[in-house]
């Protein structure tokens, strides 16, 4: 009995000591809305770079920025807006010279497919039938910040404030809408397209400036060549094709 236990413990120890990931890893921190497109891009890129592995880290762009700021070992940063990348640049966290815009997206109001209230404009969100509106935390989620700006511009800030359900990323907003826990939510057109059977786009949100995605190598990355190659791939023909297939427009 004791010998068996000792053997099992030894086996566990050996397993725990095994390296987690092999090869030169390339860590890419990407905005939550890029999840599906970047998973595909990572596989396509890995197919060309047999020795490199892409490690994808998804979260709200603002959250990714905070991780970078606290010294997270990241090689490439892709944010869902220019503002977050500007902040990264101001903090000298990225290589500004190699920064590029690579995609454009549309902010929409999504509603559950079975939803009854007719919502065709921001003002319609004031209706009593609309009891909860999910929005990304404007402090860390770009889609939330754009949505808040649009609501403020339409003079609806106070009317919507009591209905606000604040989410940690645009994908959490999407999940709340799909589950019918909220009556409407601010997401990107590309997010709504993923769950077409459960959510539908009520209308496009008017914004002063289109939503532009930025990508840049992180300053001082140990894998500068890999970072450059990955960014070239995203902005190249194959990357553009994959992004387009997921609904992203060219910048």
């Amino acid at each position: 009995m004791f010998r068996r236990l000792a053997l099992a413990s030894l086996a566990c120890l050996v397993a725990m000591a095994a390296p987690i990931a092999r090869g030169a890893g390339l860590t890419v921190s990407a905005a939550a809305s890029l999840q599906n497109a970047f998973r595909e891009i990572a596989i396509a890129w890995e197919a060309r770079h047999a020795r490199d592995r892409v490690l994808l880290n998804f979260a709200a762009s603002g959250t990714l920025l905070q991780q970078l700021d606290k010294g997270a070992p990241v090689d490439v940063f892709a944010s869902a807006d220019r503002e977050t990348m500007d902040r990264a640049q101001a903090k000298k966290l990225i290589d500004a010279a190699a920064r590029r815009d690579f995609a454009r997206n549309v902010l929409v109001v999504a509603v559950p497919t079975a939803s009854s209230p007719a919502i065709t404009s921001l003002a319609d969100l004031r209706q009593d039938a609309v009891r909860r509106v999910a929005i990304g935390d404007p402090r860390s989620v770009p889609a939330g910040r754009h949505a808040q700006a649009a609501l403020d511009a339409a003079g609806l800030h106070d009317a919507i404030a009591p209905k606000r359900i604040v989410a940690q990323s645009v994908r959490q907003v999407l999940d709340y809408v799909a589950r019918g826990e909220v009556d409407a939510g601010f997401v990107y057109a590309t997010d709504a397209a993923i769950l077409q059977d459960r959510v539908r786009v009520a209308f496009d949100v008017p914004l002063d400036e289109p939503v532009r995605y930025s990508i840049a190598p992180v300053k001082g990355t140990a894998n500068a060549a890999g970072a450059r190659s990955f960014i070239d791939f995203v902005t190249g023909a194959q990357g553009r094709e994959i992004l387009a297939r997921h609904g992203f427009a060219q910048p």
């Binding site: 709200a60 603002g62 959250t63 920025l65 905070q66 700021d69 909860r132 935390d137 402090r139 860390s140 606000r164 359900i165 604040v166 989410a167 940690q168 589950r179 019918g180 826990e181």
Partner: protein, 222 residues
């Protein structure tokens, strides 16, 4: 009021309700498990202990699926009574109660099982009714273990994060508890706010642990 204090008072309210509910549920079920002999007793014990070891995300998902607008319980409550649990204070209390429940049940059951049955028998012989035996003999004898369990449950409920975030969301003043406020402050890069919040949580939890330590056997009773 400062956001930090709003979050603290909300956390205390959630933890207070969770502890109160667990005092009734946890002690009752622990007593049943300790005193009654029935098939499947260990299975029920394991099932009820599950919230302590399950990942909070799993628990949060269960709750979201069961209590959500389209979930079996959530849909019933909404259609019958117009009650919604997701994104509400009640939802936060439910999450905290379930997560902290095993701490009360486990320590209460252990406390009940270490009581010498002779005392209860003697009380019966002397003419006390079964409820009177429970409240005047059993409960007082088990009070240390139960109190320690309740204090730990309070601390656990105070720190509850994962399941609460999934089912109750993060609405300032309604469901944004201290631990969720910490998470949001860090994500938004507001380290000054985060510092205040973590100091409050740490001091509160430390105080609870010191109180639990005083309840340990062999010390002066509180």
């Amino acid at each position: 009021m400062e956001p930090a204090w709003i979050a603290l008072s909300l956390s205390l309210k959630v933890a207070g309700w969770a502890t109160l509910l667990n005092a009734v549920l946890g002690i009752g079920i622990a007593y049943a498990l300790a005193r009654l002999r029935f098939p499947g007793r260990n299975l029920i014990d394991a099932l009820l202990t599950l919230p302590m070891v399950l990942p909070p995300t799993v628990l949060g998902y269960y709750l979201l699926v069961l209590l959500g607008r389209h979930g079996p319980i959530g849909a019933f409550l909404y259609e019958r009574f117009g009650i919604t649990l997701v994104f509400t204070f009640t939802g936060a209390v439910i999450a905290a109660t379930i997560v902290a429940f095993p701490l009360v049940m486990k320590s209460a059951r252990a406390a009940f099982e270490t009581i010498d049955p002779q005392f209860e028998k003697a009380a019966r012989v002397l003419g006390l009714s079964p409820p009177a035996v429970f409240f005047r003999v059993t409960l007082p004898l088990a009070r240390r273990g139960i109190l320690a369990g309740l204090l730990l449950a309070f601390a656990r409920a105070l720190g509850e994060f994962g399941a609460t975030l999934m089912i109750a969301g993060s609405i300032p003043g309604r469901t944004q508890t201290l631990s969720i406020a910490v998470y949001e402050a860090v994500q938004a890069g507001q380290d000054a706010t985060a510092n205040v919040l973590v100091a409050i949580v740490s001091i509160t939890c430390m105080a609870v642990l010191l109180a639990v330590g005083r309840l340990a056997p062999g010390r002066a009773p509180v």
